[in-house]
Amino acid sequence: MTKPLHLILIEILQVVIVIAAAPAFLGWVDMLKCWLQGRTSAGIMQPYRNIAKLFVKDVVLADNASWIFRITPYLVFGTAVVVGSVIPIISTNLFLAPSADIIVVIAIFATARFFMALAGMDIGTAFGGMGASREMMIASLTEPAILMAIFTVSLAGRSTSLLHIVQSFSNGALVLRPSIVFAGIAFVLVVIAEAGRVPVDNPSTHLELTMVHEAMILEYSGRHLALIEWGSMIRFFLFVTLGIACFLPWGIASTDDAGSIAASVFFMVIKAAVIGVVVVLIETGLAKMRLFRLTEFLGAAFLLSTLGVIAFFILE
């Protein structure tokens, strides 16, 4: 068994990586997008600049903003970081990992969303309310799909704790399981919805009728906005890593010598980059959907994940 010091170090390292790398991942995605759409990109570092800019700005609060409005950014950021500390990204020797299994992770994200929606309604503008309403609607549709995807994985891995899922997969030989494939595809769709990407939501629009996430945070400014932005970047990144941990966990270090850690970091970067490409391809391939077409999109996700479960029982 490894020494506690190492464990703490690994834990800290991972959290730092998560916090630091998340904007970069978003930057990477945006960059790819620009390339694909034949625009010149602002570079992978742009998100960092945005955050930095927002941090130095002053905060402008509406008169009737309550404490809900003010604590929400911290909660968003905090929950994201906490989740970041339990998903095995660079190593399976996370001593915090047992404190939250995959269901808890989803639930913690849900908490963040809950508060964000409340904050959206706090000011009492039509936009905030609209954003909150739509966000919760989308969430209620994604939840079953994501749960079924997780279900498939945890049936296969005989556990809902991420560590054991990762171990049982990465130790086992690379077998192509139809159930996992179905679940994987479903998971990608769900991640797109959860992270508010096209075709579910367009992060770069401020056209009121299509806004969802942006509508909720419309009233935010300064460091609050920075925290929320950063938090949602981390969230996006964590979903990706969660996908990695569940569906392609190969390469995540199970020992804690520096070499294997470094290797697993490297693998992680590669995987993340690839996933970024996939996301971008989907985004550019599809157009933003009307709100009530989303049911079909997420329905498809749910169908796939259910197929995953069924496939697990029938084929394996």
Partner: protein
């Protein structure tokens, strides 16, 4: 040394004291309220103690009161299960009694407060007796007294016709349910002793009897229908959204928080304790009904804009969730999978206590809001967080808990239920393997919808600006109300953060009913980690998650406030055009619009926009008003036809009393002829 059961009997008797006060110091209202509700709070607390003792020292105690029929005296029995429910009932009634001191004295003068006090105490005492009863007669007596008392409490403001209607509907359904339960006891006792003596009516006799499967099924179905009518399981739920809103809020807190739980108690008592051996389809039935109630309940709730009606529908949802746990447990039991049965059962029971706490809390909060605004329609509220900070904070806790979000208690029980679902693959029947996971998806949907619903509730009531037409100066609730809510919120947090301890304590129930301990098989991590079944499978540490989030938030806050940029307060940005009125906010109806669009086919929705005829000038927009009515389809499907049949039959019966004496003579003539012919 006084035994728990004696303790709880004495405390139950203590509930008579306030009733005496009503007679003695009836004239000074304020004093009466203070004393009597404090007494009932104390008595409830004693019951909690008794329950805790009973569960921890873990063997059943019997007591026989010299009441009832000489051959069939009242049998009482305090075992782990009843102890647990004593705790549930006692805890909430303790909080609510404290709350009531402020709430009741805030009621308008001229309301029959004495009636309220009398039946309030009878009600709580009856609930305790239901949990203690150990023979059919006493159980039913307590059960019906409970129903009657709550009926009078719902009738509290009998000058309003809606109260009368609701109370009537409730009482009739409760009574029919009780008769069904009575019949199921009849079956059990009948096959036990063949009715040559009264001994068959005790639960002990029923336990010993080996009931033939057919009769057992009959008994189960009868009792389940009876209890479902009380618990508000769909399709027996129609009384619930009528009765809970009109009752005084402290009463609706109790009814929704704990009275429904007595039905859960009954179901568990009958199936797990008395019948014990049952086929898998019973569990499946319970599970399916639970799933339907859960999702339908939350969907109906989403459509409501009457605060208390909405909460009532959420009770339907949560009862559904509890039944999911119990149903799973029954399925596992019938397939001899004790460990999983234990897990599912504990999940159900844990959600029972959780729901008691947060639903009680929410109803108390609703009461406080009603007190402040005299409004039940959410679309007439808004921005209350500024006037009533405390209430809003407590209410928020309730919202988070009921939305099953960590680190509060609602999440833990749903998490346990999910774990139980995850164990379904070890069932022998392939079909169930396939289908039960879908149940998990439904549960997930329920949780998400609940979250949406409570974003709506909290957002519309407490956030934004005042939406009401008539402006009303709301004031914060009084101290006793706040204490009551604070205690409930605290309990919610504790149950959410330290579930391992509570489950350890409850585990003896699963040992008795599912024949195995849960934690003992997985207690490796101690109180910090909740690891049902075994840590390999799943683990959750409430404390760590809570500490983590709090820590990160504080650190970030501190880091950001070493050199804080200034915060300037400005009016809301009105997108450029002037006069952003508070009527432009999203309200309950508009919030739930997407859900209406998606799930609309489940409801009987009548939605229309009327354009006012007179057009002042083409340049001005036409004045239009929006009309929305959402009805429960079940009423039209089941209840309306039944009522019509009954009325029709009664008209037919009226024809007998024809008024002509000749006809009457013919009746008696024909009766003789027929009887003689049959001879």
């Amino acid at each position: 040394m006084i035994t728990p059961i004696e303790l709880s009997i004495f405390s139950a008797i203590a509930f008579a004291i306030p009733i005496l006060f009503v007679i003695v110091i009836g004239n000074s209202r304020r004093l009466l309220i203070c004393i009597s509700f404090s007494v009932s709070a104390l008595a409830s607390l004693i019951n909690v103690a008794a329950g805790i003792m009973a569960v921890s020292n873990g063997e059943a105690q019997h007591l026989i009161l010299p009441l009832g029929l000489p051959a069939l005296p009242f049998h009482l029995r305090l075992d782990e299960l009843s102890g647990f429910f004593l705790v549930v009932v006692g805890l909430l009634s303790f909080f609510v009694s404290i709350y009531s001191i402020g709430y009741v004295s805030g009621l308008a003068t001229g309301k029959p407060v004495k009636r309220l006090i009398v039946f309030y105490n009878i009600f709580i005492a009856a609930m305790f007796m239901v949990c203690l009863a150990d023979d059919a007669l006493f159980f039913l007596v307590a059960w019906e007294v409970m129903a009657a008392a709550s009926y009078f409490l719902v009738m509290f403001e009998d000058e309003h016709s809606e109260n009368r209607r609701a109370a009537y509907l409730y009482m009739v359904m409760a009574h029919i349910g009780a008769v069904l339960i009575l019949l199921s006891f009849g079956v059990l006792a009948g096959v036990t002793t063949g009715f040559e003596s009264f001994t068959g009516y005790t639960f002990d006799a029923m336990r010993e009897a080996n009931i033939p499967p057919k009769w057992a099924a009959v008994a189960f179905l009868l009792s389940f229908c009876g209890f479902a009518a009380k618990a508000g399981v769909i399709p027996f739920h129609v009384w619930l959204p009528e009765a809970h809103p009109v009752a005084p809020s402290n009463v609706s807190a109790l009814m929704s928080g704990v009275m429904l739980k007595t039905a859960i108690y009954g179901i568990i008592r009958i199936t797990f304790d008395i019948i014990r051996v049952f086929p898998w389809w019973w569990g499946t039935m319970v599970l399916v009904l639970g799933l339907i109630s859960a999702v339908m309940g939350v969907l109906y709730a989403l459509m409501q804009h009457d605060l208390k009606k909405l909460l009532a529908y959420h009770s339907v949802e949560n009862i559904g969730i509890i039944l999911i746990g119990i149903g799973l447990s029954m399925i596992f039991t019938s397939f001899r999978l004790p460990l999983m049965a234990a897990l599912a059962l504990l999940a159900g029971l844990y959600h029972t206590i959780n729901h008691a706490m947060f639903k009680g809390l929410l109803f108390m909060g609703a009461g406080a809001v009603l007190h402040a605004t005299h409004e039940r329609n959410m679309d007439e509220m808004g921005g209350l967080i500024h006037q009533m900070p405390w209430t809003s904070a407590f209410f928020l806790v309730g919202c988070i808990s009921i939305s099953a979000l960590p680190p509060f208690n609602g999440f833990v029980s749903e998490w346990l239920t999910f774990q139980a679902f995850l164990l379904s693959p070890s069932l022998p029947i392939p079909m169930m393997k396939l289908l039960i996971p879908l149940g998990a998806a439904v549960l997930a949907l329920t949780g998400a919808l609940a979250a949406a619903c409570f974003v709506k509730v909290f957002g519309v009531i407490f956030l934004g600006n005042w939406r009401g037409h008539h402006h009303h100066a709301a004031v914060e609730a009084g101290w006793s109300m706040r204490i009551g809510m604070a205690l409930a919120s605290l309990t919610c947090l504790c149950l959410g953060v330290l579930p391992a301890i509570v489950l350890n304590w409850m585990d003896v129930i699963s040992e008795k009913l599912a024949n195995t301990k849960l934690i003992s098989s997985s207690g490796v991590y101690g109180w910090m980690w909740l690891t049902p079944v075994d840590p390999e499978r799943a683990s959750y540490s409430g404390p760590l998650v809570l500490i983590g989030i709090v820590a990160v938030c504080t650190i970030t806050y501190l880091l950001l406030h070493v050199k804080p940029g200034m915060i300037s307060r400005v009016p809301v940005w009105d997108c450029g055009f002037q006069k952003l009125t508070s009527r432009m906010q999203y309200n309950a109806v508009s919030f739930s619009m997407p859900f209406r669009r998606i799930f609309g086919y489940l409801f009987d929705i009548k939605e229309q926009i009327r354009l006012s005829p007179q057009q002042r000038h083409t340049a001005f927009p036409v004045k239009s008003n929006y009309y929305l009515r959402i009805r429960d389809r079940f009423w039209g499907w089941i209840y309306r036809p039944v009522i019509d049949r009954v009325v029709l039959l009664s008209r037919k019966a009226g024809l007998l009393q024809h008024g002509r004496i000749h006809v009457y003579l013919i009746y008696s003539f024909l009766t003789i002829i027929v009887l003689l012919a049959l001879l």
